[in-house]
């Protein structure tokens, strides 16, 4: 069972002071938060991707590679990678590169993005969201799994004899999760490929999350990847804790009341009852989190949102210290009653082992059969003919 945090990189005013951090502060804070996550023993740090204000989450690959250089063990992931508006050819290159740079400490979570105006900036249409996610991911799989790809589709220019470089580390592509709140097509997609399914979980009632996870598990089994309870499930979660639960409620309320997404809507009390948000003591957070298994079954990855709604960096780091304190109990609790046949979340090491060991997948370009030239000789050839 993996525990980690995920961030959407929102630049939000602190409602208690009215101060909004600069982009620079927020970007640097994200790195501090990731380093803290490793320090307290978390397994995963994941960042979202946005291409519009008020977010600093564009270019997640640079962020993850930089954090990868500053950390030793933590798995770097996305939450989510926009498979709709990002060229799958770039995704294939970027994340294979991070795999090499971080020795396999990377996986991805695919998502569609729900901001309509962003799509046309990238030449796409939100109404094609599902089709884009389906076609683009099918291409991404081939770019990682096949050395030479001939491809033609609806949404990007065709590829002929194309090799995505670098090839995945050790011949094994990064593990992929598919994130969706309510699109059944995405749960179906995750099941079809035997990939992981991540439910954001934090904005909707548990009954809805259960329906989506049940669907994914059922279809995972249908497509022959294992039994339903062996499907790879991840959940989001959200908490704010203080030693004294009333302190947590008092301190978090202004952030909740003014938060993007649900702010100025339901009361903190209604929302904590309806969704997995837990505001209280570490013990309450521990118990609520262990209760997620009651409706999704034993699962593989738990990510928490801790750094949103204008919470200052200092507070976020304190929250992570508190999370670190209950982490051993979370791990022990999740291990309790977990059947042996329920797998852990795939890692680079486990995927290499499953593939029968590492192999160098470098594609060494051959000379062109017509000219006898290789691509890297092009400049040399020009010099000769000049």
């Amino acid at each position: 069972m993996q525990f980690g945090i995920f961030t959407v990189g929102d630049v939000t005013a602190d409602p208690t002071t009215g101060r909004t951090p600069t982009e620079h502060e927020r970007i640097k804070a994200t790195v501090e938060i990731a380093k803290k996550a490793e320090e307290i023993g978390l397994d995963v740090f994941a960042t979202g991707e946005h291409h519009n204000p008020p977010f600093i989450a564009s270019n997640p690959t640079a962020t993850l590679a930089y954090i990868g250089a500053k950390t030793e063990n933590i798995i770097l992931s996305t939450a989510t990678t926009l498979i709709t508006t990002t060229d799958p050819v770039l995704i294939a290159e970027d994340y294979a590169k991070i795999q090499h740079l971080t020795d396999g400490r990377v996986d991805l979570m695919m998502g569609r993005g729900n901001t309509g105006p962003v799509y046309p900036w990238f030449g796409k249409d939100i109404r094609d969201g599902i089709n884009l996610a389906v076609e683009n991911y099918a291409l991404l799989r081939r770019l990682w799994d096949e050395d030479v790809v001939n491809w033609e589709g609806r949404f990007r220019t065709p590829l002929q004899g194309y090799t995505s470089t670098p090839r995945p580390l050790d011949g094994v592509s990064p593990f992929v999760w598919h994130g969706s709140i309510r699109s059944t097509e995405i749960a179906e997609q995750a099941a079809y490929y035997g990939d992981g399914f991540f439910h954001n979980h934090i904005f909707w009632p548990a009954g809805h999350t259960k329906q989506m996870v049940d669907l994914y598990r059922r279809r995972f089994e249908h497509y022959g990847h294992g039994t339903a309870d062996q499907a790879i499930v991840g959940l989001g979660g959200q908490f704010f804790m203080r030693k004294n639960s009333q302190d947590a409620v008092d301190e978090f309320r202004p952030y909740f009341d003014n938060a993007p997404v649900y702010g100025h809507g339901p009361s903190l009390e209604d929302f904590t009852e309806a969704t997995p948000l837990t505001v209280g003591s570490p013990q309450q957070v521990l118990e609520r989190t262990l209760g997620f298994r009651d409706y999704v079954g034993h699962y593989q990855r738990q990510l928490f949102l801790v750094d949103h709604a204008g919470l200052p960096l200092k507070t976020v780091l304190e929250q992570l210290d508190l999370l670190g304190e209950i982490l051993p109990d979370l791990r022990a609790g999740m291990a309790e009653g977990r059947p042996a046949h329920v797998p852990d979340a795939p890692t680079h090491a486990s995927r290499v082992a499953a593939a029968g060991g590492a192999h160098d997948s470098t594609v060494y370009a051959e000379a062109d059969s017509a000219t006898g030239h290789r691509a890297e000789d092009a400049q040399h050839t020009e010099e000769v003919t000049a």
Binding site: I181, F203, W204, V261, Y262, G265, P266, D270, F271, A274
Partner: protein
């Protein structure tokens, strides 16, 4: 069992919107053989409707109302007229309803207002809304200004609209006059030439029955 869901968006208690809803409900129930009625008062759900606009998911009571709409064989919807249209709360209820829930469902549209000058609200606001939502809007809509509650003409329109809704919804009561009235249709000139309406009846109708 035929399922009728009545949605009324009045804000005051008691409200003329609810009053009109009740009259439409009674007439529809009478016209149907076996009917179960669920009344959804939007005032009680106002917070949850707003919350769903912001969070994307319904609270428990609103979810129950939405389930009732999903399972309904027909709807009676009644809104007060605010600023020359349906009320914001009324519209929001349908804004947060899952797409497709009203596909093919018979809907009787009705509205109340302080003045008869708003009477075309049914045609320029409610009918297009429910056409967009792919509902089957019954031909007769019922508009009631304050003064209509004093007259007898409102009853005639209520009966006619309820009869039309009942015919679209399910098994109608064999003894009911609302549906037979609708089925009998209007008398044409040809009908009158063949068999004129007796003068005693004309005399009766001239003074309002």
């Amino acid at each position: 069992m035929t399922k009728l869901v009545v949605i009324s968006a009045g804000l005051s208690v008691p409200s003329s919107t609810r009053l009109l809803a009740d009259r439409l409900t009674a007439a529809t129930v009478e016209a149907l053989e076996d009917v179960e009625v669920t009344h959804v008062e939007l005032r009680d759900l106002a917070h949850q409707v707003t919350d769903q606009l912001l969070t994307g998911f319904p609270g428990a009571e609103l979810a129950a109302a939405q389930d009732a709409v999903r399972a309904a064989d027909g709807l009676v919807v009644v809104t007060p007229v605010f600023s020359a249209s349906y009320s914001g709360l009324f519209k929001s209820f349908f804004d947060v309803l899952e797409t497709g829930v009203l596909d093919g469902k018979p809907v009787l549209v009705a509205a109340t207002a302080g003045t008869a000058r708003h009477s075309l609200v049914l045609e320029h606001a409610l009918r297009p809304l429910f056409a967009y939502l792919h509902a089957v809007v019954v031909p007769t809509g019922v508009f009631a200004a304050s003064e209509d509650f004093a007259g007898t003409d409102l009853d005639r329109r209520v009966t006619r609209a309820a009869g039309e809704l009942a015919l679209l919804m399910g098994k109608v009561s064999p003894v009911d006059s609302a549906t037979s009235h609708v089925l009998a249709g209007r008398r044409t000139v040809e009908d009158e030439l063949a068999e004129p309406t007796p003068f005693e009846q004309l005399l009766r109708e001239a003074s309002g029955r």
